[in-house]
């Protein structure tokens, strides 16, 4: 019988299949590695860097690094957690995340990962960028203030819906999500609320209309239990995820 290939992570032996990334192997083995732009349903992306782990002394993103026999992975150490907190804090100050005024609060993955890593404040100087809210679509609202550029909606719309409703424009700190329609507004695009892209946003940037606060604060997805136990927003069943 073939012995399965394995690597070591924080003292545990993690089995993996050829071609599997470190994060997918770890998640399959029940070991949580914090992440935002990763969703096992889509091609790995590697942009948020929150899944940064130490592999044999080198920092890599666990979602893009293929698992390899004998690797020593550190997922939980002071330096790794420090890096992750700083990355999350960067995402918080880059946009406008006013959690008390956000319908997604309590069921937001950015928030949940931040809780998990023990982030108490955004630490850095806020950019306070001026961004739009697009409420032109009858079923969905997009609040660009909260977009963390994970490109999950871009990938879902392109690879699953075959629609290319979303794409990224600009460069550097000016990078921004744009919508493919002649007006640039969601209401004039091919978007439909049944699209895959409607249910993948990890934060409160793409929100269904007419269901805000159906689940009271305090009873939402991450209010009582951490994301390492509950799992990602996108995997939680529709209607189950705290905000519909």
């Amino acid at each position: 019988m073939n012995t399965r290939k394995t690597f070591r992570m924080d003292g545990r032996t993690i089995p993996f299949e050829d071609g599997q990334s470190i994060i997918d192997a770890a998640l399959a083995a029940g070991e949580y590695i914090p992440h935002l732009c990763h969703n096992p349903e889509f091609t790995p992306h590697g942009s948020c860097r929150v899944c940064t782990v130490d592999v044999d002394g080198r920092m890599v993103s666990a979602c893009t690094q293929p698992a390899a026999e004998g690797q020593q992975v550190v997922n939980n150490s002071d330096p790794v957690n420090h890096y992750r907190r700083r990355l999350l804090q960067m995402l918080f100050v880059e946009g406008n995340h006013v959690c008390p005024g956000c319908e997604k609060s309590g069921a937001c993955q950015l928030q949940a990962v931040a809780y998990y890593t023990g982030m108490l404040a955004p630490h850095f100087t806020h950019f306070f960028p001026r961004r739009e809210v697009d409420a032109s679509h009858p079923d969905t609202v997009i609040d660009f203030n909260r977009c963390i550029l994970c490109e999950l909606c871009v990938r879902a719309s392109r690879d699953v819906d075959g629609k290319n409703v979303f794409s990224i424009s600009g460069r550097g700190i000016q990078s921004r999500l744009i919508i493919n329609s002649n007006t640039g507004r969601l209401g004039d695009s091919d978007y439909d609320r049944a699209d895959k892209a409607a249910s993948v946003c990890p934060v409160g940037a793409i929100l269904p209309k007419h269901q805000g606060y159906e689940v009271p604060i305090g009873e939402r997805l991450y209010d009582q239990r951490p994301i390492s136990v509950v799992g990602d927003v996108a995997q939680a069943k529709q209607g189950d995820n705290g905000d519909g």
């Binding site: 790995p44 590697g46 942009s47 948020c48 860097r49 929150v50 940064t52 920092m59 993103s61 893009t64 293929p66 890096y83 700083r86 990355l87 960067m90 995402l91 100050v93 880059e94 850095f124 100087t125 950019f127 550029l149 290319n164 979303f166 794409s167 990224i168 424009s169 600009g170 460069r171 550097g172 700190i173 000016q174 990078s175 744009i178 919508i179 493919n180 002649n182 640039g184």
Partner: protein
């Protein structure tokens, strides 16, 4: 000419002539920008329709590249090089003068549609700056007198063809020649060696030579070619990286201006060895002025049977080269971003592995090498590995071209055996009273005199070729500020640490530069720098904090002097933040200054 009416037709025509491949999107955009000084909406619509892309994807490409614009720049689009060495030669004053005389603000098109004046990252003319780009054409050695004449021509609406042509001349300024620059010709000799000895044998020769990539990273060239040759695929590609975006580097410009034949031969040699039929020269947009001469060189080589089908009469030895232009994006020098750009996309570095040698252009095995690397390969084929190894060190055989600029007598290109000491270089180029040397550009090292005994070699101070000299009249913080702003501007924006961290770092350096930095901010800089180095997706983010860290480590006197008293300073200027309210309420004199206390 009314852009609204004919941009669609113009674009259709371009597409018809060009074969309408989506991979050529960026090339079409460059042509349209050149014609209309922007990409009109009708062009976006036409490109999207014909190339089967969505308009938003086209917009995403336009907004990625600094030289592409959605709104018209006017008849003259004037870009002043903002390289630190150009600044040292007075570019900032020229920029101001230009704006004043033309009555425009930086980056804002004039209301009469005549001109836009803006800055741009290093134009690669540091040896003959200050430099401008006007409608993509470079003007060197600009002084007040030349500037005033430019203003007059702009105001008169005189087409560039009628301007004094010597303004557009770019000199080579070669001060030291060795193995590479001693010879000019490349008439197919190396290709004959290839046909005589066979690919495997020549690859071995290249391996024996120990040639390492001249773009900076120093990867073994023979190994790269071998990996590509061994990868199974229907097509393979050769790409020459002439993006030369590292501030202070201009040696590839000289090679492409006066040794283009040898560079093209090197690409052909590589093609013969790995089995590629198509190659690309990815030329940074700033070097657009070289296009005509490069196309002529390619034509001549085709006519001489050195390019095209059955090269040197050898059946099956087919290879040709296209030139692709960049459009103002430093990140496109990174090989996988370059490949994305070659495919007509935004220059976002790919996830690696897979590496380009197995999955590059159109996901086929692709060799990407620096201009100088291809040239060295030709010489090695001609003269052998022993000849090559007679120069340089054991770990860094051969010679290296340096682009020397800044505070020295003779700015230009120098070819040295690797292993040369910084001291020796400084003495040759006539630099004295040196405070700091910046080796390998913004992404490289900033070194104080105590380090001048060190050598330029992969095993000591590695360099892609930039060598900038700063004497004691310079403020090292100006230099670090310039580089940090450069990186923040050039970050592709894909990953969090570089996109956000780069801007945070820039703001902290600005704060320190302006005398408001605190001990707390210094710790913050180190923290952000460490994160960028550790967690960024590509080399840009990994190296972007280098100037800041070198400042903190090697020039403590410089930054300590600038620290504000007390351990903490507000992150913003409180008085400036009150000025709007003062104005609105007419309370200019009440409220007082809040200062920076505590």
């Amino acid at each position: 000419m009314n852009p609204a009416s004919d941009a669609g037709i113009f674009t259709e025509r371009l597409l018809n002539e060009g074969g309408a491949q989506a991979t050529d999107l960026l090339q079409y955009l460059c042509s349209i920008q050149q014609h209309y000084s922007c990409i009109p909406p009708q062009a976006v619509e036409t490109l999207a329709r014909v190339l089967a892309l969505t308009p938003s994807v086209v917009l995403g490409v336009i907004e990625f590249y600094s030289f592409l614009h959605r709104t018209p720049r006017g008849q003259f689009d004037i870009l002043v090089s903002d390289s630190i060495t150009d600044q040292m030669l007075g570019s900032r004053d020229l920029l101001q003068r230009l704006c004043d005389r033309l009555g425009v603000c930086v980056s804002q098109p004039g209301s009469d549609g005549r001109a836009t004046v803006a800055t741009t990252s290093c134009t690669g003319m540091c040896d003959q700056g200050p430099a401008l780009l006007i409608n993509g054409q470079v003007v060197t050695r600009v002084d007040n007198e030349r500037l005033d004449r430019i203003v007059a021509l702009v105001q008169a609406g005189s087409p560039l063809e009628d301007w004094p042509q010597d303004w557009f001349s770019v000199s080579d300024n070669v001060y030291r020649r060795d193995q590479l620059l001693d010879e000019h010709s490349a008439n197919g000799d190396s290709l004959r060696v290839l046909l005589d000895r066979g690919a495997a044998d020549l690859l071995q020769e290249l391996d024996d030579s120990g040639l390492r990539g001249r773009g900076g990273a120093g990867f073994s060239t023979a190994l790269k070619w071998k990996l590509c040759r061994d990868a199974s695929a229907d097509e393979r590609y050769v790409v020459c990286n002439a993006d030369e975006g590292e501030p202070g580097t201009f040696k590839d410009r000289v090679l492409l201006q006066s040794w283009a034949d040898t560079v093209f031969e090197g690409m052909t040699l590589c093609a013969g060895i790995i089995g590629a039929r198509r190659g690309f020269l990815y030329l940074r947009g700033e070097y657009r002025y070289l296009l005509d001469s490069l196309h002529t060189a390619l034509e001549n080589r085709r006519a001489s049977g050195l390019l095209g089908s059955a090269i040197l009469g050898e059946p099956g030895f087919d290879f040709d080269i296209d030139i692709h232009l960049g459009a103002g994006a430093y990140i496109c020098g990174e090989e996988s971003a370059l490949i994305e750009s070659l495919e007509g996309k935004r220059g976002i570095p790919r996830i690696r592995p897979p590496f380009p040698v197995t999955s590059g252009y159109r996901n086929r095995p692709t060799v990407v090498n620096n201009v100088e690397t291809f040239m060295a390969a030709v010489r090695i084929a001609e003269h052998g590995s022993a000849w090559f190894r007679s120069k340089g060190t054991a770990q860094s055989p051969g010679t290296k071209l340096l682009s020397i600029s800044g505070d020295c007598r003779d700015r230009g290109v120098y070819e040295y055996p690797l292993g040369v000491s910084i001291e020796e270089v400084l003495s040759d180029c006539g630099a004295d009273d040196v405070q700091a040397v910046q080796v390998a550009g913004a992404a490289g090292r900033t070194l104080p005199p105590a380090e001048f005994g060190r050598t330029l070699a992969f095993e000591d101070v590695a360099t892609g070729g930039s060598f900038m000299v700063f004497d004691h009249t310079r403020d090292v913080l100006d230099v670090v500020q310039n580089f940090t702003r450069f990186f923040a501007h050039e970050s592709c924006g894909f990953c969090t640490p570089c996109r956000v961290g780069g801007s945070l770092l820039r703001d902290l350096v600005d704060k320190l530069h302006d005398g408001h930095g605190s001990e707390y901010d210094i710790r913050e800089m180190r923290d952000i720098a460490g994160l960028m180095q550790a967690a960024s997706h590509c080399g840009l983010g990994h190296t972007a904090p280098a100037p800041v860290l070198d400042l903190l480590d090697h020039f403590p006197d410089v930054w300590r002097q600038r620290l504000a008293a007390g351990g903490f300073e507000p992150s913003f200027d409180i008085d400036a933040a009150l000025s709007e309210a003062k104005q609105l309420t007419g309370r200019d004199h009440s409220g007082g200054r809040m200062g920076g206390d505590v």
